[in-house]
Structure formats: C-alpha cells, structure tokens
C-alpha cells in the first residue's frame, strides 16, 4: 500500500449533459457544480432518472458517446478531465480515479478468471506482472475481505453477489486511486451484505485517505457512510449539506418527501407509506419556467411557478434551490 501523496480534490463546475436522439433532445444534467475534498465521502442522492448516474459517468468520460454532449468543467486537482483525449483519459481511469458499478454480476467478465481481470489493471498502470502482481492481488483481496488463493482462480459465476462486489472494489483500488466513484454499489445486494460492503468502504476510505463519490437512491445507506450529501432532482442539484444535518432537518421539500417516503422498520403495523405523487418533468433543452418540483411539491405556493429558483445558501454549508422560507421548513406542510 503506497503512502498517500498530496491528494487532489475533485472540482465539478457547471456540468451539463445532453442527449440528442432522432426524436428529441434531453438534458439529463443541468448546471451541476460540486467539490469533493480529499478523504471526503460525498453522497449523491435522487430518484431514478435524476441524472446522478450520468453525472458520475461523465467524470471518467464513460457516458454514452454516440449521442451525448457534455459541457462544463471537471478537474482533478489542476487537471481538466473534460475533453481530455482518450489516450490520456485512460491513464487516469482505474488509476487515479476508479469506478465501481451497480450490478456486480454483469460488471465482471464472465469468461475470465478473477486473477486475469485484476492482473490487467496492475499490468497496465503499474507495470506489474508475475509473482509481484499475484502478491499484490492477494493482499488486496484480503483487504476487501475475501482472502485465499482459490478466489484468484475462480470465475465470477462461482462467487456470490457480495464477493463479486468485493472483487470489483479490489479491482478499483489496486492502484490506490485518489477518488472512488461508486454507482449504487449496494442496490443489488442483500441488506446484510449491504452493510458489510458499506463498512468495508468506510474502512478503506479511512486507511487510504481516499475520497468517495457515493451514488444512491437510498437515503438510509447514504446516512451511514457519507460526510456530505448532494440531492439531485430533474438533472439539477436541489440541496446539499452535511449528511447528519440534512437528514435530520431537510431544507428542500423534495428531500423532505424523499425521507418521508422511505419505509422504516419502526413503522408499527398500520403506518402508511408516503410516496411522492406524479412524475418528474420531461427534460428538454429549454430553460425551465418554474421550479422543477412544483408539480409534485406538497409545499408549493405563490412564486414557485414564476421561474426556477437559484441554488442559494440557507445556512453555513447548506445550499438549496427553494423559495420556501427556512422557518416554514421546520414545520410539517
């Protein structure tokens, strides 16, 4: 394990991603800006289709190339990643910035053994081969909690879901990246395995001083692991803040509704579920003439439909995109 050198922060500024197809154009991400400091775990939360996955994919340029257009700036330290030629971008992928995905079953190549898939990374980025590489792989597997030679020789289908995800994590961390992007890594796993993986990530982050961008739709998961949370809706950021504060007291109606809609074990028999009614807006390229959440917002009022609110600071370290006064937010709608 290498000594963490001076770590870089990840700076995303005004990121916009549009997809142009035959029929229409869709702006999946609209003017998103955030920072991830070295060693921070930032959660990116929102419902399906809110643009969180697209955001994370564009960092490493893994979005759908054929139809996507990306504008804005993504910097790792001083280096601009957006627009970087492929030959240079791939030196960063898996090396300084790594990514793990949602479905460990389909993320691994079913035709290759674990050691072959891990070995590629070592060979490519660190020039390691043979015994040294094996050593490193075994160490890494031990760190992610699946020690043993036989794991190396195994094929993905011979491993359980949790083990596969651990392999993916190991693969991502082999080169000690500065930033790990985790796109819903626990969504496809059992609840018990989920918490194991979260513990694992938490521990690894501490040991390595690595920062993590953790994408999820599950607030409970996010609460456990993340220092800060960014809430996205309809392709834009609607609220940010330290996770404890934000989850304790949301300052945006959407975050509030999200929290309320999460089924909790404590709900005694007879407790109701509170889904968020309606559908997210269609995201064409034009500017919104009203708040994106207005159609579904339980706190909608005069002024919400006059134009899209700007992202503003509501308290130290808290940003939100809403005109409802903070004091109102402290009371139920």
């Amino acid at each position: 394990m290498s000594e963490p050198s001076a770590k870089d922060a990840l700076h995303v500024r005004d990121l916009s991603v549009s997809f142009v197809t035959r029929e229409r154009s869709v702006r999946a991400v609209d003017g998103v800006s955030f920072d991830i400091e070295p060693g921070e775990v930032v959660g990116l939360v929102g419902e399906s289709g809110c643009g969180k996955s697209v955001t994370s994919l564009s960092i490493l340029g893994l979005h759908e190339k054929s139809a996507g257009r990306v504008t804005g700036s993504i910097k790792l330290g001083e280096q601009e990643l957006l627009g970087l030629p492929h030959s240079q971008l791939r030196k960063i992928r898996g090396n300084r910035v790594s990514m793990i995905f949602q479905d460990p079953q389909t993320s691994l190549n079913p035709y290759l053994r674990v050691e072959e898939q891990l070995g590629e990374v070592l060979e490519l980025h660190l020039g390691m081969q043979g015994a040294r590489a094996r050593q490193r792989m075994l160490e890494m597997l031990k760190q992610v909690g699946i020690p043993g030679e036989e794991r190396l020789r195994a094929y993905p289908h011979q491993l359980s879901g949790g083990m596969r995800q651990r392999v993916c994590i190991a693969m991502a961390l082999l080169c000690s990246p500065q930033v790990l992007i985790a796109d819903e890594p626990t969504t496809m796993l059992d609840v018990t395995i989920q918490s194991q993986i979260l513990d694992l990530l938490g521990g690894l982050r501490k040991d390595r001083g690595m920062s993590i961008l953790f994408i999820s739709h599950d607030l409970g998961v996010v609460a456990e692991l993340c220092d800060r949370v960014i809430v996205m809706y309809a392709g834009r950021i609607v609220e940010t803040g330290r996770s404890a504060e934000l989850l304790e007291q949301p300052l945006h109606p959407y975050t509030e509704a999200l929290l309320k809609s999460t089924p909790r074990v404590e709900l005694k028999g007879g407790g109701e579920l509170h889904p968020i009614g309606g559908l997210p807006p269609r995201l064409t390229g034009e500017k919104l003439t009203e708040c994106a959440f207005a159609a579904r917002c339980p706190r909608v009022r005069q002024g919400c439909r006059d134009g899209e609110p700007a992202l503003q600071s509501a308290a130290p370290g808290r940003l939100r995109r809403c005109i409802v006064p903070v004091t109102d937010m402290l009371v139920p709608p």
């Binding site: 309606g278 559908l279 807006p281 269609r282 159609a295």
Partner: protein, 291 residues
C-alpha cells in the same frame, strides 16, 4: 409537464409501422409481389409455352423477339424463366408451410410440457440439426426420381422436413419462456385446458417469431431445390434447372451468357427480397434486437 400521452396501439400495429419504415423491406416486398405476379400471370395471359421448341432458332442472344434469348433447343428463355419461377416460388412456399406445421407443433409441445419430455425431444432435434439432412433428401429424390417425375408432393415434403428443426427450436424456446409468464398461470388457474392455453394464450405471442423465421426459411428451401435441380433430380422446370442448363454450356469458345445470367438474376433478386423482408420483419417485431 408530466408523462407522455399517445394513442394506444397494439404491438402488432406498432410493429407494422416499424416495418413500413424499413425501406429495404418495402422494396423487397414490392419486388417479390411483382415477380410473383409476373411468373403466375404473364404466361397465362399471353398464352406462352415454355416447351415450344424451334431448333432452328437455338442459342440466340437476347433480341427484341426473344427478350432473354433462346436455349439449346430454341426455346424462349423469357418464358422459361417465368414458368420456372412458378415452380421455385411454389416450392418455397409449400415446403416452408410443411416446415412451419411440423416445427411449430413439435416445438410447442416440447416447450409447453418442459422437463424430461422437452429434454428428450430436443436431444433428437440437436442431433438432427448437425446432420447433412440434405443427404437423405438427395437419397430420397434419387431413389424415387423415376416414379416422381412431375409429382411435386415428395419434393415439398422432403424439403420441408429439412427446415423444421430450426422452427421447432425457436418455437420451443419461445413457448418455454412464455409458459412461465403469469398470464399463462392465470389461465391455468381459471381452469383452461392445455390446448386452449396453447392456442389462445401462448401461440399469438409466438406468431411474430414464426413469421420472421418462416420468411427467412423460404430462401434456403429455394436454394435447396436449386441444388436438386442442378444435380439432375429436379422434378419440374425451375430456376435451378435453368441455371444448371446454363452452367452446363459454359465453354471458353462461345459464351451463352444469357442462359446463365437471367435465371440467376431472377433467383438472386427473389432471394434478396425475401431476406430483406425477413430482416425487416425481425427488426420490426423485436426492435431491442436491432443492430
């Protein structure tokens, strides 16, 4: 703001719209129809006789009198190509019908009952799949050729039995998946008989696939028939026969190119059209598989 609204269309209607947008398929369909009409109607309307020999006019290149030229016995090639087309197209259609009938029945039963029955049935199919089935077909035709002159039925049967395997496999796969779907379970719970479930619930969903593969099978059968004709086992005048005649007179001294070219062109265009239509159907019915 909100979700999409559009008039409700059945999957078949949606598929049809997609099909019509495929220019290749439309062109193919037009060409095929034209070709079929020409082959079936023209000789009838113009009272043309393919076996009318005029030895004094043999081996003439195309001219205004004989559009496609004449063959070694002075017969008008244009007429022969048209009449030959009837055979080739008929064989394609009839044999495919046989394949579809046998294949769908076999595959539906295997897929529907699943388990060991399916395994046993499919083993036989797997085995026969790799066989040069054509081998047996040729044998049959060879053996029965004297008796069978002019009798088309054995040809249809023999050729039809070559292709049923593919159809059986595909239908079985579809039925197997559909069988486990909930709407089938629902029908069972309501007390529907096996046959009823099969016919009313499962088959309509399989029709699409059947149509696609049937269309793609016709070219194979026509080619197989042309093989038989080429080997001298043909039963009636067909494009394959004409091509074989054309090939037989290839020599370095005199080129009777028209004898080879015209039937080949007709054959090729027909098969091309069928392939376009088949591809178009497949894309239309399963756009996710579109590549």
């Amino acid at each position: 703001m909100g979700g999409h609204e559009s008039p409700i269309q059945s999957p078949f209607q949606l598929a049809f719209r997609r099909l019509v947008r495929n220019r290749g398929a439309v062109a193919g369909a037009l060409l095929l129809s034209l070709m079929t009409l020409a082959c079936v109607l023209l000789p009838l309307l113009l009272k043309l006789d393919p076996s009318h020999t005029q030895p004094v006019l043999r081996n003439l290149p195309p001219s205004s009198q004989f559009w496609f030229g004449t063959d070694g016995l002075g017969r008008d090639l244009f007429v022969r190509v048209l009449v030959g087309g009837r055979t080739s197209l008929l064989v394609g259609l009839a044999s495919t019908a046989v394949s579809v009938l046998v294949g769908v029945s076999y595959g539906a039963v295997a897929g529907f009952y699943g388990g060991k029955v399916d395994e046993a049935m499919m083993r036989l199919v797997d085995f026969m799949y790799g066989l040069p089935y054509m081998f047996l077909v040729i044998l049959i035709m060879l053996m029965f050729s004297e008796k069978a002159r002019g009798d088309m039925l054995p040809v249809f049967l023999a050729l039809g039995l070559v292709q049923w395997l593919t159809m059986a496999r595909i239908v079985r796969g579809q039925v197997l998946t559909l069988r486990r779907q909930e709407f089938v379970l629902a029908a069972e719970l309501l007390g529907a008989s096996d046959a009823r479930i099969l016919v009313r619930h499962v088959l309509p969903n399989v029709i699409g696939v059947i149509v696609v593969y049937a269309t793609l099978m016709v070219p194979s059968v026509i080619i197989l028939e042309s093989f038989l004709s080429f080997l001298g086992l043909g039963v009636a005048l067909s494009w394959g026969q004409l091509v074989s005649d054309g090939v037989a007179v290839i020599n370095p001294v005199r080129s009777y190119w028209w004898l080879l070219v015209w039937p080949s062109v007709f054959l090729g265009l027909t098969l091309l059209s069928l392939n376009f239509i088949g591809d178009g159907l497949r894309d239309a019915l399963d756009p996710k598989a579109r590549t």
